[in-house]
Each structure stands twice: as structure tokens, then as C-alpha cells.
Symmetry: C2
Subunit: 110 residues, 2 copies
DNA sequence: CGGGATCCTCGGAGATACTG
DNA sequence: CAGTATCTCCGAGGATCCCG
């Protein structure tokens, strides 16, 4: 989805701009469970490239959804967790998940 | 958002595939209130092109979210309304709308 | 009025190589 | 381990013209 192009300033559009890109929802879904490390996320999200994972995390960090914690250790360790704002998106993910499940059931009936 | 590329088969991703494209959520938002005619939608969704509106409506119709009703009159009249499946997405839109409102408030505080 | 057909743009997404 | 730096590709989205 093009995030840069103009959309009506309605709350729904605002929400989509923050989490509508291809992988963000899946990242968010993982982070809702617990904090994750970079490589850990990359392994779990099979198919995502380093660049896209980085871009997505940076973008979500800039939007205040994700918190990035760097541990000054050797080897380096970076953990990504949800901010309070990110945590507040749980109901959205939950409703989308429930709807997705119901949708798949309706497909099987046909 | 690229809808054609592969995504994990999780319910959240399924939902995004159906309504994650740029205008679909806004169309859905309108249709949740009442049925709309083609030109009516185009005027309301300022900035949308005919092609994109057509493509979006056709796609949503194919997904079973939108119902297209043609009235055999002169001049032709076509109405778009929500199917039962589309109507069932109301909670998702509502939660996204509420979150969007809360997000804007949090921006003003900074 | 409600599109169909055609052509084009732009940026999200991906692949690859390299680094503190 | 967790990135950065380039290059490339592709398709959603857009513009324009035409039609039953």
C-alpha cells in the first residue's frame, strides 16, 4: 500500500497507514506475545529480507509502536518489544484474526 | 501493499489481503452506513480514479464482501452494498477507528 | 451513468554484498 | 549478531480516452 500518497484524514486510514504494509501486521502479531530478537524474527517470518525487516521495524519504531532495546554485550543483542501504543493495538489484531478464521470457515462451506 | 505476493497463511494476513489495499477500507467504511452508487462513491472518495474504484469494487465483490445490484433502467443505475460477510467486518473497522482516534490524541500530547 | 481498455509512474519489496 | 548500502523489479495505483 502506498503510504506516502494522500488519504482522507479519517481514523481508519490513519490506522492502516501504520500497520497496513505487507509484514508489519505479522511482526506486530509476534511482538504481541513477547519480545523478539532480530534474527529470531527473520527466521520466524519466512521469506522476509533483512532490508524489509529492518525498514519495517524502523518505521514502527518511528511511529512509536515498537521499542528497540540494545544490550551492550558481545555478541550484540537487540530486542524488539511493543510500546504501550503498540500494545493498545491488540484488539485490532484480535478482531482481524477472529474475522479471518470465520472467513476461512465460510469458504469451506461453499 | 502487495496482495499477490505470498504471505503466511495466518488469519490476520488473510484479513489484510481482503481489505488492506489503499481504498478498500474507506469504501467499506462508506458501505457500512448504506448502499452507494458508483459515481456517488467516486465523489465521496476524493482522489480515487475510476479504474481503482472499479478494481476495488470488483475485487471486493469477488471476495464476497460487496454485493453489486444492477437496476435495468435508463439511465443505468448500479448500487453497491455490503454482503453479510462484509457486514461482519464492522467490528474490525470500529476497532481501527477507535484506535486511530486515540492515536491522534497521543500525538497532540507530544 | 457506469464503466472498459490502454499506457504509465512510483515506491514497496526483494536480492546481494559488505561491516562494526 | 544485527544490521547498512545498492541495485533491481513488479504491481497497485493513476491518467486518459472511449463506449453501450
Amino acid at each position: 500500500m502506498k503510504l506516502k500518497s494522500e488519504l482522507p484524514a479519517c481514523p481508519v486510514a490513519t490506522t492502516v497507514q501504520l500497520i497496513g504494509s505487507k509484514w508489519k501486521l505479522l511482526i506486530l502479531r509476534n511482538l504481541l506475545a513477547r519480545p523478539w530478537r532480530f534474527n529470531e524474527l527473520q527466521k520466524n517470518l519466512e521469506g522476509i529480507s533483512q532490508k524489509v525487516l529492518t525498514d519495517s521495524l524502523r518505521s514502527m519504531e518511528a511511529d512509536g509502536i515498537v521499542t528497540r532495546t540494545v544490550y551492550p554485550e558481545v555478541p550484540p543483542r537487540v530486542e524488539y518489544s511493543l510500546s504501550e501504543l503498540g500494545e493498545s493495538m491488540r484488539p485490532i489484531i484480535a478482531s482481524m484474526e477472529q474475522w479471518g478464521i470465520a472467513y476461512k470457515k465460510s469458504l469451506n462451506k461453499e
